[in-house]
Amino acid sequence: MIDVENLTKYYGRSLAIENVSFSLDEGKILGLLGPNGAGKSTTMNIITGYISADRGTVRIDGIDMFEKPLEAKKKIGYMPEVPPLYNDMTVEKYLAFMFNLKKVRLPMKAHLDKICQDTQIEDVRGKIIKYLSKGYKQRVGLAQALIGDPPVLILDEPTAGLDPAQIIEMRKLVRELGKNHTVIMSSHVLSEVQAVCDKIIVINKGTVAADAFTSELTGTGSGTSKLRLIVEGREKSVLALLKRISGVTDVSGRGETERGCYEFIVESNTDVRRPVYRALAKADYNILNMSPVALSLEETYLDIISGKYSEKEADDDDGDIQA
């Protein structure tokens, strides 16, 4: 649905993004992740045709953005970081304006009614945008992007500046929209991307640092798992015992947590919780705590940003992940 190839953009002489490439299938939600100033908004601005690229191509549903911008733009609903709202208009008039601007051919009243319902802004339709709260403004921004039912939605930090309840609402909305739209959203909140997106691209310093499915990055689909154990007993013999269990690939001691109790991290390629319990019970060691450690996106993200991830991936599977 969305094909981005080798996008490169300079602002004056400074490089904003370089050779950014990725593709996204219909009906998927892609998360663009990266520190501030990494090039997320630039990438989105180019995809939506707001600015142009110095090199590269963007194809939306097979239509080239640079060759046929008007056709390609019809397929995109864009919610920029700052919602493009006219403060002097009422929500109703603003949405009608955007409807006409986008030359939508649907029945206007029914279409706008549905959008207002979906984004829950029905009760403020008559209000002047200037007087709306941040959360409502954000939702009107989203409503504006939905006008014309575009198959592709591009949302630049849709939850920025919202309160926790609104963030949950907005995420729910984006997930809901993802069912019948292809969505690209950017965020620097990692847990959000993890919760909402099917696929994640990490942009760092203007280049794609990682491109993977969420499950790959979080390690949940990779088959390796980590366990955190706190065991009462002698550290060295517990360590030796754990290492002998089949399936365990690595055990590391984390030191004493309380008197006579030690913490261990057990890495394995199968589920070893039962063998670990049996082995320790047989040797009369008490397990005080056993909990799985999911490789959090946060950890991976920090690795990626610092450049460790790509090295590790290259070691693991010969750089299968395209970057």
């Binding site: 004056g12 045709g49 142009s52 864009y78 700052v82 006219y86 208009m89 008039k93 504006q144």
Partner: protein
């Protein structure tokens, strides 16, 4: 284009700008009309129109200052430029909205002509010709204002820079008189808006002058289009 035109026109009246500009125009036009026609006992409105040159010159930048500058400042240009609309249509929509405000202002002359017709016999062809002339002149000022507005995020800068350009244009005649070379002088004075406008106020509407005003308008609007397109590449 129509969507933008309607929005901009509505925006003039949902903020004080439209009212202030129209009120200012009507005050000056009424004042000059009273002074040069009613008080002086003349049915000749030419002099009213001639005096309005500088008023139009100052009022129009107020009308055009926000057209693109505000969009950039509030980031609403992102909505415009990512919609399936050509930049040219956006420029035209905004241009037409400002022209409508000017047209509303110019309607005051019909009222003034009507008042005159109760007490004298005004020359309607001259009044209509003058309205047409002021529309042409205003159109050039509007297109200059739009062009300047597209260059900045600040409405104040847009207004001041438009004033400056308009004043410079009105000084072309003075500049021409300082040039000694005959060819250069006639070339410079041929660029004078005021000379051409004044000849229209006297009832002389030449095709050349009309083409001159229309071409200038088209040129500035085209430059605006290029400026916005250029920024996408910056």
């Amino acid at each position: 284009m129509m969507a933008i035109f309607r929005r901009e026109l509505g925006s003039y009246f949902s903020s004080p700008v439209g009212y202030v500009v129209i009120a200012a125009f009507l005050s000056f036009s009424g004042l000059f009309f009273y002074y040069y026609c009613l008080y002086a006992g003349s049915s000749n409105m030419n002099i009213v129109f001639q005096n309005m040159f500088s008023v139009v010159m100052f009022i129009i930048p107020i009308l055009t200052m926000r057209l693109f500058a505000e969009d950039r400042k509030t980031k609403t240009d992102q909505a415009l430029l990512t919609s399936p609309v050509k930049i040219g249509s956006i420029v035209m929509g905004k241009y037409l909205s400002a022209m409508i405000i000017l047209l509303i202002c110019l309607c005051s002359y019909l009222v003034e002509g009507l008042i005159l017709s109760f007490i004298a016999h005004p020359d309607w062809s001259v009044i209509l010709g003058n309205i047409f002339g002021m529309l042409l002149l205003g159109s050039v000022f509007v297109s200059i204002g739009i062009m300047v507005s597209s260059l900045t995020e600040s409405m104040v800068i847009a207004a001041v820079a438009s004033f400056a350009i308009n004043i410079l244009l009105s000084l072309v005649d003075a500049l021409a008189s300082t040039v000694n070379t005959e060819g250069a002088r006639s070339f410079i004075s041929s660029l004078s808006l005021q000379t051409k406008y004044n000849s229209i106020t006297l009832g002389i509407i030449s095709l050349g002058d009309v083409v001159f005003f229309v071409t200038l308008t088209a040129l500035f609007l085209f430059i605006t289009d290029r400026i916005i397109e250029r920024r996408r590449w910056a």
